[in-house]
């Protein structure tokens, strides 16, 4: 199958990725996508910039998928994260999980995106309508999507 964890400079195609997870034993598919919002903490956001240290992001991402497979009876999972400049509405991250039953699909998907957001060496710079920009740090982003 395709690489389980991918850092992509090109737009994410969730439909193609989902199709890659097709499995006759799968009864449940859960997909999560993080989209670029037009606001954060009261600031109007124009676009986002992601910096990724790919070698470690991919390795840590695979570790997270392995942990999810250990914890939940899932069949397969995959994760793609963008890097570079993203416009409002673009998909910044996609996680897809297939399992026989929906409990595992939902829980593994949630486990993976939660871990991806706090463990992968990825940094997000917000460009605001005011002309300012700023790196989103953990203290500010921990409680949010």
């Amino acid at each position: 199958m395709a690489e389980r964890v991918v850092i992509s400079a090109a737009q994410i195609d969730p439909a193609a990725l989902r199709a890659g997870l097709a499995d006759p034993a799968a009864g449940a598919y859960c997909g999560f996508e993080g989209w670029v919002r037009d606001h954060n903490e009261g600031h109007a956001v124009l676009r986002l910039e992601y910096e990724v240290y790919a070698p470690l992001a991919v390795r840590e991402g695979r570790r997270i998928l392995d942990e999810a497979a250990d914890r939940y009876p899932m069949l397969n999972a995959q994760c793609v994260h963008r890097e570079g400049l993203l416009e409002i509405g673009e998909c910044a991250v996609w996680v897809g999980v297939v399992a026989a039953h929906r409990d595992a699909a939902f829980e593994a998907c949630r486990y993976i995106i939660d871990a991806v957001k706090v463990r992968l060496p990825i940094w997000k710079k917000e460009h605001y309508a005011s002309g300012d920009s700023g790196w989103v740090n953990c203290a500010r982003c921990a409680a949010h999507a």
Partner: protein, 94 residues
Amino acid sequence: MTASATDRTVTGRTPKTIRVRYFAMFREHAGTASESLALEADTARDVFLATRHRHGSPEPAGHCKVAINDEMADWDAPVEDGDEVLLFPPVAGG
């Protein structure tokens, strides 16, 4: 000079050549993506603190992450002469 040489012998600290890589906010503050420094450092934390004026961040180490030679590491992990230390400011994926 003599005092300095004696100090080094007493503490057991001789400078190590450490390649330090900065990311995101740290890279912007350092004005460079990487540099080689001669540091009296035993651990990853020592490298973080020694370069704090360069990466310019008040963030405590606990909010940041570190890797040594492309492996995620603890702040207490030892650093050796010739190691590459990667300093990660607070991450924000997704």
